[in-house]
């Protein structure tokens, strides 16, 4: 079967790229080893999750049934899980890549521009808070109103914090406050340039910028904060959206659906047995050592197990787990096949609980009720005075553990916990999914995922027995837990000169930062899309169009190279009228 592009893996980036390529008029075949969509970002029911974990557990006796699975086993280690599943296990949608999506950013843009937004629905993230001590959280002052209302900050701290927030929301590039400090550790920057105390500085770094450790550089952290500050108010007070039914996995599936609507062919649950290119036809199977000879017009042959006819395509887009490392375009130079230093191993925990987390702000305990000699009369519709200890039962929220928050836990990196419940359609009524991520700075093997994350899970569970409840209330016991260490995929950078000439395009590694995954995957998808389009159209890499004086008044959006792309002007073509109308409903 002949295609323009074969896409291997239905992870978010590959799915977005497949949708864009289909929409641009290319014939796309999209293959996944798994029975489900979403790859490493899939949303799984508990049954599927258990199977997923068992298939990857290294102590399992079976030999891996595919190359894909063998590579997955190397990337998901230290797996332990509860032996039994809670009832209604099929009513859960657990995300392998927990994420929150900023309301402004490339991911939302693509969701809207592609029309995929109408396949999905979202819930606003209710709250981001910092774990304080058993039973209590610290509020995160992320807006003027939060700062104004905060009882935890002194007046001077409020001023300094607001000054920082105004700075971070603005065009800070090139300002004197930032000059020469772009790479300074962000926490140090907050302390020195904005004279912020530890508490507000920690809140900014770990709960607004979602930094991983104290050494995260300043400029990217500021850029993230700006994006999130500006996102607030687009769909509601919170800057973040959480996808229903498990988030990114559902979204990836939506992009696949769009690709299919535009003629994409979908083949799930088929292991890839080989990827061959014509110049090495004689000896090439995916298991063999080989060095693909870059050939601009070669036709690749993708062979699937129990599938007589192979798929042929000029360009192959692939998640790195589908190809042997040596077949990767950059394999010759060892430096190019690497992981950016912002992408870490992550210890993960997935836990199911049957009591809600209650966020009780620690500062609210010393808030005195307002004084009035006249008691408010109990008229109907009367404004009730605020309770003296406001606490929030959360359904969809993030809990942040800065480094050094807990004894026996990480002193260097911050853990982020995403809780999702019925409100985001990811758990049955009265159940919640906790998704804890702890980045590991060193790749050396150390304690197991369970040892690393148990303190965080226990700390989070103390919030299920809030101070406002009677003393008999005990913290929730998880109904199910799964711990594992997630190793990032290793892939050459797309801009690496070593693979500039390749027709095999590998998805670059993606950050695991909760609010950054969706945008990063989308940007990767767009880069892969343009690379694929250029390979397919046989054009060279375009230069950035720089308007010169001669060209003034002329169309300078595209240079000569791009004009050969036969009318492919943008990542997403304009939506059809029908698309627009249904998009309005959303």
């Amino acid at each position: 079967m002949d295609f323009d592009v074969v896409v291997l893996g239905t992870g978010l980036a590959e799915s977005i790229a497949a949708a864009a390529l289909s929409k641009a008029g290319f014939k796309v075949a999209h293959v996944d080893n798994n029975q489900y969509y979403g790859g490493d970002e899939a949303s799984l029911t508990l049954d599927e999750l258990a199977q997923w974990a068992d298939a990857r557990a290294t102590d399992s006796e079976d030999k891996p049934t595919s190359e894909y699975l063998a590579r997955q086993r190397a990337r998901y280690t230290s797996i332990t899980r509860s032996s039994t599943l809670p009832p209604q296990s099929r009513q859960y949608a657990v995300s392998l890549a927990p994420s929150i999506v900023p309301s402004l950013g490339s991911h939302i843009d693509s969701l809207i521009a592609s029309g995929v937004s109408r396949y999905g629905s979202f819930k606003l993230l209710e709250k981001v808070a910092i774990y304080d001590r058993p039973g209590y959280v610290q509020s995160v002052p992320g807006s003027k109103e939060d700062v104004f209302k905060s009882k935890a900050l002194s007046l001077v701290e409020k001023r300094r914090l607001m000054r920082f927030l105004m700075f971070a929301a603005g065009e800070f590039e090139g300002k004197k406050e930032l000059e020469g400090k772009e790479q300074m550790p962000f926490l140090q920057y907050l302390r020195e340039t904005f004279t912020l105390n530890d508490k507000p500085a920690n809140a900014i770094a770990y709960a607004l910028a979602f930094c991983i450790c104290a050494n995260d550089p300043t400029l990217p952290a500021l850029q993230r904060i700006r994006q999130y500050l500006r996102s607030a108010g687009r769909y509601g007070a919170s800057p973040f959206l959480v996808g229903h039914y498990g988030g990114l996995g559902e979204t990836a599936q939506g992009f696949c659906r769009t690709s299919a609507v535009k003629g994409g062919t979908y083949i799930l649950g088929r292991p890839v047995s080989g990827v061959k290119c014509p110049s090495s036809e004689a000896n090439a199977t995916s298991t063999d050592e080989k060095t693909p000879v870059p050939s601009a017009r070669s036709v690749h042959r993708v062979e699937l197990e129990e599938f007589d006819e192979s798929l042929t395509a000029r360009v192959v887009l692939s998640s790195s787990d589908y190809l042997p490392p040596t077949s990767l375009p950059g394999a010759t130079s060892s430096s190019s096949s690497s992981i950016p230093d912002t992408v870490y191993q992550v210890a993960r925990c997935i836990a199911i609980i049957d009591k809600p987390l209650v966020f009780t702000p620690t500062e609210s305990t010393d808030e005195a009720p307002s004084t009035a000699t006249e008691e408010p009369a109990g008229e109907p519709g009367e404004e009730a005075d605020q309770p003296s200890t406001p606490s929030y039962e959360v359904d969809t929220a993030v809990l942040v553990f800065p480094p050094n928050t807990l004894p026996n836990a990480s002193t260097t990196t911050a853990a982020h916990l995403l809780v999702t419940g019925e409100g985001s359609m990811s758990a049955p009524k009265g159940k919640w999914i906790l998704n804890i991520s702890l980045p590991l700075l060193s790749s050396a093997s150390g304690p197991s995922a369970e040892e690393l994350l148990r303190p965080y899970l226990d700390a989070a569970l103390t919030l299920t027995a809030p101070p406002s409840a009677s003393s008999e209330v005990q913290p929730a016991e998880p109904l199910f837990t799964l711990f594992y260490i997630h190793h990032p995929a290793s892939a050459p950078s797309l801009s690496d000169p070593a693979n500039a000439d390749s027709d095999i395009i590998i998805t670059p590694s993606c950050t695991t930062l909760l609010p950054a995954i969706a945008d990063a995957a989308t940007q990767n998808a767009e880069a892969m899309f343009w690379k694929a389009v250029r390979r397919l159209k046989g054009t060279r890499e375009p230069q950035k169009a720089v308007p010169t004086d001669d060209e003034k008044g002329e169309e300078v959006e595209k240079d000569g190279g791009d004009s050969e792309l036969d009318g492919i002007e943008s990542f997403w073509p304009p939506l059809d009228v029908a698309d627009v109308e249904s998009a309005d409903d959303w």
Partner: protein, 462 residues
Amino acid sequence: MHGVKRVKYTREALAAKKEREQAKLKEYQGLTAEVLARKQARDTTQEAFDLTTKLLHINPEFYTIWNYRRNILSDAIFPQRTPAQINDLLADDLSLTTVLLKQHPKVYWIWNHRYWCLRQVPEGPTEADPNGWRQAYWNKELFVVEKMLDADPRNFHAWNYRRYVLEEMPIKRSEQSELVYTKRKIEANFSNFSAWHQRSKVLSSMWATGKLDKTKSMEEEFDLVKNAMYTDPNDQSVWIYHRWLIGSGDNKDILEREIESIQELLDEQPDSKWCMESLVFYKRTLVGRHGSVLSDEASCRLEGECLELLSKLEKVDPDRRQRYIDLSHAGPHYLIAQDRRSPPMWEEVTITANIFNTGLDTYSTTLIPSSQSYKTPLVIPARNLVAKVMLDDQGQGAGGVVAVIRVVQHLHSPALQPQLVQDLQVLEPQAAFLGASVVCKTWYAVSACQYDAKEWWHIRST
């Protein structure tokens, strides 16, 4: 507007759009002419009434038509109807204004009509329950106005209306609940004059009736407003509320405490216009209200600080420069030498004058060097006045004015004023000695103050 898709029109579409607009315009003009003609003819028929409805839907700002509509209702329609029918008609008109207010929340005439309708509600439904209809409306009105304030919390029409509704309700709501309501609105966004204003109204009333302990709740208000000041010192509404809390400044302790707090904020945010302006206002209030218990040194220092702040204000808020200059001239008192120039490169020169026959105890002098730290104000015996003037070390100022010497005296008896003039004139030749000449000299008395005389010497360097 944001988020609205820009529609591109083809030439034909544009022409069609224009045509539609023309047709609409024609219809409107025709309708206007007809309604006005009927008004002229005192037509009070149902037909005329319906036409006003139609016209007001198109243009709710046409207040003549609202008046005409009310005339029709009260002169022709109401007299022929039963109270229940009148009540129904008013319900219709209230929903008309609701619909229009949703589109035009800030049109006076719609609000006016709403007030009018509520005032017309007849007694009923029964003689036993004469307030039944009214109470039903009022409950609903509060709901309506809260919806309006949810849509735009700063709509002062809605706030005014809310006050009206609260006041007129046959069964009053507690003021405490209004306090809670305003706090909720302020917490949602404190940049809201109307919400603060409403709060000040409620508090005044509760303090007056003793429903709230003034001292204690005042402290809570200071705490609330200080949180807002520190969160966003650029927000004017907050400063105005603070000024309302300070009032006439009779409580010296509070005044001094607040000055200190604002000073701390200014230290954090050295370019804050509102901080500086408020400090000038409160420091002068302190001297004005409590000057009799302050030492001369303290009063002198305070005014010196005010002048320093005002000259900074000229720089951070150049649009109101003249206002700050006027304010610095309007200060109440004391001898000041002030640097009005930058960059500050000054050397000290001493002018010495011997002053006789004043019969006064002391002259107070103070120096405001341009550096951050103030020199200790000098209090010098009257017979040996020393005014230190700071002059530009280059001896020439680009703008001409290099120093302003202000001489003010405690003048307990107006009769002494002429003597003081004489005495101070002694300074003039001294300035000339320095190579400077006095270009402008003004005497004036500030009547309401206990310090009654002052003099300005603008010395131009030569």
